[in-house]
């Protein structure tokens, strides 16, 4: 074994030298190996960015596979998804993996974001890493929204009608937004074509660019150190090399996530509880909507909060007030590295910690109410 290892590693080394002589990759490897990961009690949260990345890779692979059989269009979308899950070998598995991985990816991204928020890791000099992360989350949510319609079943049809209808409530631009999103006044086959193009071409292209920037920023600046480390003597700070030590741990976590994903997809191919995506019946624009229309769980808090608003607040439309409040809240959230002045001088801010806790609490309570009421 030991001998064969050295033999094969000899071959790898020779291949490496061959490439290195031509492209001088040693410099790149040296650069990569500078990155270290702080070892501290909250180190576990460092894994969630990597988990999100891994689940995104799963999305790309399973998404490309679904493309082999999926056909957009009002007469073919539902039929092709049914064909995938009913006829194609392992088609049910690929669809289940794509759906599970999508949901877990959003979940992991939320955890990643909140852990970065509460550790103040967005503070100077990582403002752009935070902003690019927010952009990635927005893109991921758009991925989810556009992908939801593609099977063209009853649920997705009405959820899309409600979702795009909300865009219609935006002042002045609403009507245009609605027509642009739907490809007409109504949700039709034209809407599928648009969402399909968005889902498989435009969003992946944008996501790849922003994700590359996000990862390059992290590689360039290294991991953020906890605020409490400011006063620590450098001898007491513990670090782990990213390459290969943290990467190995990352890979192990990915393997565990892959296994969780596989178990969920095999035993619950249609999802479970409120996270479910049965194919159901084909969308029929002329039939009445099913009794309960719900958005995906990650839109639930917004959906529910808007439902609580009265029809009019100070003679302004309630929906409009709600959307405005969400927009302002989202902007504060996105620009928190610039707004939180204390974070710029490496000091913790109670105000922003309470704000973060309020946001989490708001999301959790509204989500639960959304499913209970």
């Amino acid at each position: 074994m030991a001998e064969s290892t050295s033999r094969s590693s000899g071959a790898i080394k020779r291949a490496y030298r061959w490439v290195d002589r031509r492209f001088q990759i040693q410099a790149l490897v040296d650069y990569m190996s500078h990155k270290v990961v702080p070892v501290q009690k909250f180190s576990i949260w460092y894994y969630f960015g990597g988990i999100t990345l891994f689940l995104f890779i799963v999305q790309v692979v399973t998404g490309i596979l679904l493309l082999m059989y999926y056909r957009p269009g009002a007469d073919s979308a539902y039929e092709s998804v049914r064909f995938i899950v009913a006829e194609v070998s392992f088609g049910w598995l690929i669809r289940a993996l794509h759906s599970w991985s999508a949901n877990l990816m959003i979940f992991a991204a939320f955890i990643h974001m909140f852990s970065v928020y509460f550790e103040n890791a967005y503070r100077k000099p990582r403002e752009l890493t935070w902003l690019s992360g927010i952009a990635l989350l927005a893109l991921a949510l758009t991925f989810g929204f556009s992908g939801y319609l593609l099977p063209w079943n009853e649920l997705s049809f009405f959820a899309t009608r409600v979702g795009t209808g909300m865009a219609g409530a935006v002042p002045f631009l609403g009507k245009y937004l609605l027509v642009i999103m739907r490809g007409g006044e109504e949700v039709t086959g034209a809407t599928i074509e648009r969402f399909f193009g968005l889902h498989v071409a435009i969003l992946p292209a944008l996501f790849t660019v922003v994700l590359s920037a996000h990862l390059i920023f992290i590689q360039r600046q290294g991991m953020s150190e906890p605020l409490e480390w400011k006063e620590k003597p450098s001898g007491e700070k513990k670090y782990m090399k990213f390459f290969p030590h943290f990467l190995m741990r990352d890979l192990l976590v990915w393997l565990i996530v892959l296994n969780i994903l596989a178990v969920l997809a095999v035993f619950f191919p249609d999802g479970i509880g409120v996270v479910h995506w049965p194919l159901g019946v084909k969308a029929d624009p002329f039939s009445p909507p099913p009794p309960v229309i719900r958005p995906e769980w990650y839109f639930m808090f917004a959906f529910q909060a808007l439902k609580f608003l009265p029809a009019h607040i100070f003679s302004i439309e309630g929906e409009l007030v709600g959307i405005s409040v969400f927009t302002i809240g989202g902007l504060i959230w996105a620009f928190v590295p610039f707004i939180n002045r204390k974070s710029r001088i490496d000091e913790p801010s109670k105000l922003f910690m309470y704000f973060g806790m309020f946001v989490i609490l708001f999301i959790i309570v509204m989500t639960i109410l959304g499913y209970l009421l």
Binding site: M1, A2, E3, T5, V61, L65, M68, Y69, E87, V88, S89, F90, G91, L93, I94, L255, L258, A262
Partner: protein
């Protein structure tokens, strides 16, 4: 000296084997998924043509093509007034053959393959004859079926 197996070797085998198994469990479904299931139309053995003999006679090439399950067929009005149905897929590279009434044969435009009306490959690259289908006329309707012509 006999090679001694250490715990590290054992772990290496477990890890390597696990990785190979994981790869296999990932690649096998993908490979199977990429192979499309057989089409539901594969076993069509008889088809009623959506046109009448008069339509074929009116065609300048005295022939019409039709879908036969997953296959494509061609029905030709012979100079004798008889109808003859054959597979329209050239046995060379799957192009669609057409009738040449002036030469009295079926012709594939892609690589100049030629077939006689009884399906024999008489000239050009086609390696095999065209399959001939049975034609039955019931009233005005034309039925084409696989099997002995």
């Amino acid at each position: 000296m006999p090679e001694e197996r250490t715990r590290r070797d054992f772990l290496g085998i477990i890890l390597g084997g696990g990785l190979i198994a994981t790869l296999g469990a990932t690649i096998y479904p993908i490979f199977k998924y990429l192979i499309p299931p057989p089409s539901g139309e594969a076993n069509v053995s008889q088809v009623k043509l959506p046109f009448k003999k008069a339509d074929i006679a009116a065609d300048p090439k005295k022939a019409k093509t039709f879908r036969f399950g997953r296959d494509l067929g061609i029905i030709v009005l012979l100079p004798s007034g008889e109808l003859r149905a054959l597979s329209a897929r050239c046995t060379h590279l799957d192009c669609t053959v057409q009738n040449k009434p002036d030469e009295g044969l079926l012709w594939c435009a892609c690589h100049n393959g030629k077939y006689s009306y009884d399906g024999r490959n008489i000239s050009g690259p086609p390696p095999k004859p065209l399959q001939v289908f049975a034609v039955n006329i019931v009233g005005e309707d034309i039925f084409v079926s696989k099997g002995k012509a």
